[in-house]
């Protein structure tokens, strides 16, 4: 089981994501924007970070850049409604280990999480 940081400004999305992950027995932490996620990642060293893109204060792209600069070792899976191919490309270029589109589907999300955690 892994320690996973769920980063999304939407309470509604965090509720859906955490309920899926809690069922799998993972330990969870939550952040509401990139800045908060960065602080938690530095202090708690999670095994995995789930990251929304459009967030106030620090968005997902800025988080990916900052995480690279600060050498955060946890892999990041981007979880977004943005289905643009270019967005996916930008995230992977910035170091994201996975890219999953919302709406969150257990059958789509869990295989990506398992793959990233096993790498």
């Amino acid at each position: 089981m892994a320690l996973i940081l769920v980063t999304d400004d939407s309470f509604f999305q965090r509720k859906i994501i955490t309920s899926v992950l809690a069922e799998e027995g993972h330990d969870l932490m939550e952040a509401t924007n990139g800045r908060e996620a960065l602080l938690i990642a530095e202090r708690k060293n999670p095994d995995l970070i789930l990251l929304d893109l459009l967030m106030p204060d620090m968005d997902g792209f800025q988080f990916l850049e900052a995480a690279r600069e600060k050498k955060i070792s946890a892999p990041v899976i981007v979880l977004t409604s943005d289905i643009q191919d270019t967005t996916k490309g930008m995230c992977l270029k910035l170091g994201a280990a996975g890219f999953v589109n919302k709406p969150v589907e257990k059958e789509k999300l869990l295989p990506v999480i398992n793959r990233v955690l096993s790498e």
Partner: protein, 199 residues
């Protein structure tokens, strides 16, 4: 914005919007587990000065809307509006909360923002992918009022004339209706058509 927009250009915009809305319906279907019925998209040019209440139900209707501003080779706003009587049904179905509870009220905006965001991203993401371009999005914004008031509020950005492409959808099992609107900024229409013609 040209008023003598050619019928083949209108068709091209409808077609590309249709693909985007189809993708949104697929996402919404997955989210709600209910069949989504779509209307044929409609493309119109409005003069906001002459836009008055009392002419068309869907423009007058008090709605809860989520809108997202997009910027790229063409710019504008896409919004999803739910008539008030559909809002409670949608939020109850999405959250499992009962009618009239304080929890339902507090989840209303959050839920609509997320559902709206998924629909809008389906439309705009598909269009962007087809045109092989990239659009930057602002954070989705929630508002309440009539569609006419919302369009008029954009007057500063759009001058007096706006191109509006819209389509209606129904989430069948939930008996929820909604409208998707795309408002295009001045000058963006020609760029959009030019890019559609390059496909």
């Amino acid at each position: 914005m040209p008023e003598d927009i050619k019928s083949e250009d209108i068709d091209a915009i409808k077609e590309i919007l249709n693909i985007g809305i189809g993708r949104s319906a697929q996402m919404l279907n997955c989210f709600t587990k209910s069949h989504i019925t779509l209307s044929i998209p409609e493309v119109r040019i409005f003069d906001t000065e002459n836009l008055k209440k009392g002419n068309e139900k869907y423009l007058d209707e008090e709605s809860a809307a989520v809108r997202l501003e997009f910027m790229g080779i063409f710019s504008g706003i896409t919004a999803v509006a739910f008539p008030k009587d559909s809002v409670a049904k949608l939020v109850m179905a999405m959250t499992g909360e009962a009618a009239g509870t304080p929890e339902l009220d507090s989840l209303r905006i959050e839920t609509l923002k997320e559902v709206g965001n998924i629909i809008i991203n389906g439309v705009m993401g598909s269009i962007s992918n087809i045109l092989k371009t990239h659009l930057n999005y602002a954070i989705p914004y929630y508002e309440e009022g009539s569609i006419i008031d919302m369009i008029k509020a954009e007057k500063k950005i759009y001058d007096n004339k706006v191109l509006m492409a819209m389509a209606c959808f129904t989430i069948k099992d939930l008996n929820v209706e909604g409208n998707i609107f795309m408002l295009l900024e001045l000058g963006s229409l020609e760029i959009l058509i030019e890019n559609i013609n390059k496909i």
